[in-house]
Symmetry: C2
Subunit: 421 residues, 2 copies
């Protein structure tokens, strides 16, 4: 226990994004900044994309006699007045120390910790708005699930944020559904955080060799496939007036009695698990739809976890650890959840039981939303093809081939036989 | 590929046990001995505890006009005439090279491979009957799930079989339900096989360091807790007229297109997973019954897998590997299956939703059968208490305390907080 009172400054937290998951994480963090006054400023700013809304019936503040429920108001005004995100997280009271802010620039001003939690298609534009306006020594954590895969390579959202802003960015991912966490139903999550500058001030605990994801600040968009070649980024060190952003202190920002956090170093592994599980969930759904039982489904999941490990080690080399996939919430637990009731699993299963194409099921079931699993499966396959490595990933390749009509779900055992790692 | 035709003798396989799972494994093996004539004698003997039965309606051989369906006959006679185990696996055609044998002594005569697949309470008596009557260089594989835990220590069934007969015995365990495997629904399994004598004839493949479970042949029943102290057993080497029992050849005995086998060395890990998952399944059932959602359930499973690893490493030391629990069918996949629809999971869940004790649910639901999870939880807890290590295993301890009424299922997150590995 260091004497934290000795630090002249406290960390200021900004949340970029205020949807379902963004607001939930803001709630978690606001509860923690209030409880850890030695480390963090109690008040946190949350950037809200401004829109006009009326308080809906699902909100605990709904009152048909009130103007708020009949006349559209600014969402930020409603959040700050009612302490509830009536549009994206209705019914959940928010701590009063969350301040909804319609200006992204003002949200991030003086913040030492930036939490990114918005749909991935808004990352580029949001980073553009705040580039050069964040503290040079700020640290980020991306709660955005998934990775971007293309023929050119794989990019983590944390990487693109870090590169665009010239800061370090870690990642949070786990077997979490926003609404359940918001309702304080117990779950676990994984936070990957390992800035190169941690080295100088916070020696690694024994037995956990640290490896950093390289953020190639100089590279403007092109991601090298051979990450081993990258040089270490130059990051501005955290000034010594601030408490260190060690694993211990970062954990205090996220951990709640209902939201158990495990800290790891492996940002790539944490991010990959959240993306690749959706591909596996399709296969699990097909096998379940065929009536092959829980054991066949468990076999698909086991093979899927092992292909995730192989994929991570092959394309992110030394930074990815097997345990991230096999032992952490972001890996095995998220896989289990996604293959239990996730939408990729459900739609794939329905495509078998209803004898329809997965696109038809998607259109019928998802109300205009798109399945992550099918697009990730195509992207991963296209990437593997350019590397000539389809054969090394029999399950990922099987899913892609089935989606393309080249194979049937019934072929899965034969496609895996003798090829699984 | 060695020139296997060069061996003067072939392996002869005997199956000890003919229940649901025993008959299923006999079917799997008989299909494989027929297909691998260079390694195995085609015909296999299956010991059947003789009883008088009539062919039931569920059998494909049922015929109300036939004497077989009206007058009780020897079960061995029916199996050998109808090629169907009409009592324990009705409706599934068996290969004709399975020979039901009412004499356990004659079943094992000249057999080089003994497959043990009977209820664990019959192990002692069965081994007593064949002691001194098996080939001294025979090798065993136990398909009996679980381990025996008492205050004195933990004994694997493979160990007690090996000790009683003076032979090496490996283990098979996986996410398998007998009926599904019998119906050729696809699943995976894990076979642990690593006799000390493999060393001399079959060098270990690169990258997989081998470690042996010690079988202390001289010890007559008492199991040392500190397994590191044990000396290597003296086993009779397999004569060179027989094809080697390498992983490659053992796999050929079990692997089918619908039953994918992975070979490992870790007999203790394979056996422990099959026992300890039942304890975890109770906690998963409670959490699910509370309506906490898939994420809470996945968190319980993740913590459970990690406690299995810790338990194995602590009490079986160098022989147990993390991967056996995190990467194999006998570990993570069996955990997933047991926490999906297994009876421990179901009864624990019902105890919450019906607001009844688990004993009441057990009596109502299981038709006189007993839950494995509750007895294993008590045994493990009693063992951990004698070692003063309850605190090291917060989930196992929570399950035991909840069963004893000292805690409630609602306490699980708090009981795990800050204590999970």
């Amino acid at each position: 226990m260091g004497s934290l009172g000795a630090y002249a400054k406290k960390h200021k937290v900004a949340i970029i994004g205020s949807g379902n998951w963004g607001t939930t994480i803001a709630k978690v963090i606001a509860e923690n900044t209030a409880e850890n006054a030695d480390l963090f400023e109690k008040d946190i700013q949350m950037w809200v994309f401004e829109e006009q809304v009326t308080v809906p019936k699902s909100s605990s503040s709904y009152d048909p006699g009130s103007e708020l429920s009949t006349k559209p108001q600014d969402l930020t005004f409603l959040i700050n007045k009612l302490h509830e995100n009536v549009k994206y997280l209705p019914g959940v009271p928010l701590p009063k120390n969350i301040h909804a802010n319609p200006s992204i620039e003002s949200t991030v001003k003086d913040a030492t910790i930036l939490i990114f939690n918005l749909p991935h298609q808004f990352i580029a534009k949001s980073c553009e708005s705040i580039k050069g306006k964040v503290l040079p020594f700020a640290r980020g954590v991306s709660c955005i699930k998934g990775v971007e895969v293309s023929d050119q390579g794989i990019e983590l959202f944390s990487e693109s944020i870090g590169r665009k802003l010239g800061i370090y960015c870690g990642a949070l991912s786990g077997a979490n559904i926003a609404t359940e966490v918001a309702l304080e139903k117990w779950s676990e999550t994984t936070v990957a955080y390992d800035p190169p500058t941690m080295d100088s001030r916070h020696p690694t605990p024994k037995g956990s060799p640290r490896q950093s994801i390289d953020i190639n600040v100089s590279e403007a968009g092109e991601i090298a496939l051979d990450r081993g070649e990258k040089k270490k980024p130059k990051l501005t060190p955290l000034p010594s007036e601030y408490p260190p952003l060690s694993h211990e202190n970062m954990k205090k920002l996220f951990h709640r009695p209902y939201f158990h956090v495990r800290m790891v170093d492996d940002v790539a592994g944490v991010s990959l698990g959240g993306a690749l599980k959706n591909v596996v969930a399709l296969a699990a759904g097909w096998v379940d739809g065929l009536g092959w039982g829980d054991n066949a489904k468990a076999a698909v999941m086991r093979v899927g976890i092992m292909e995730e490990v192989k994929f991570g080690k092959m394309f992110f080399q030394e930074s990815v650890k097997t345990e991230t996939f096999t032992e952490e919430s972001c890996g095995v637990a998220d896989m289990i959840t996604s293959c239990s009731g996730g939408r990729n699993f459900r739609c794939a299963k329905l495509s078998i039981t209803k004898k329809k194409s997965i696109e038809e099921v998607e259109a019928e079931e998802l109300n205009g939303q798109k399945l992550q699993g099918t697009s990730t499966a195509h992207e991963v396959n296209s990437f593997l093809k350019t590397k000539g490595m389809e054969g090394e990933f029999p399950l990922f390749t099987a899913v892609s081939n089935i989606l393309q009509g080249k194979n049937k779900p019934e072929d899965i055992p034969q496609l895996l036989e003798g090829k699984t790692t």
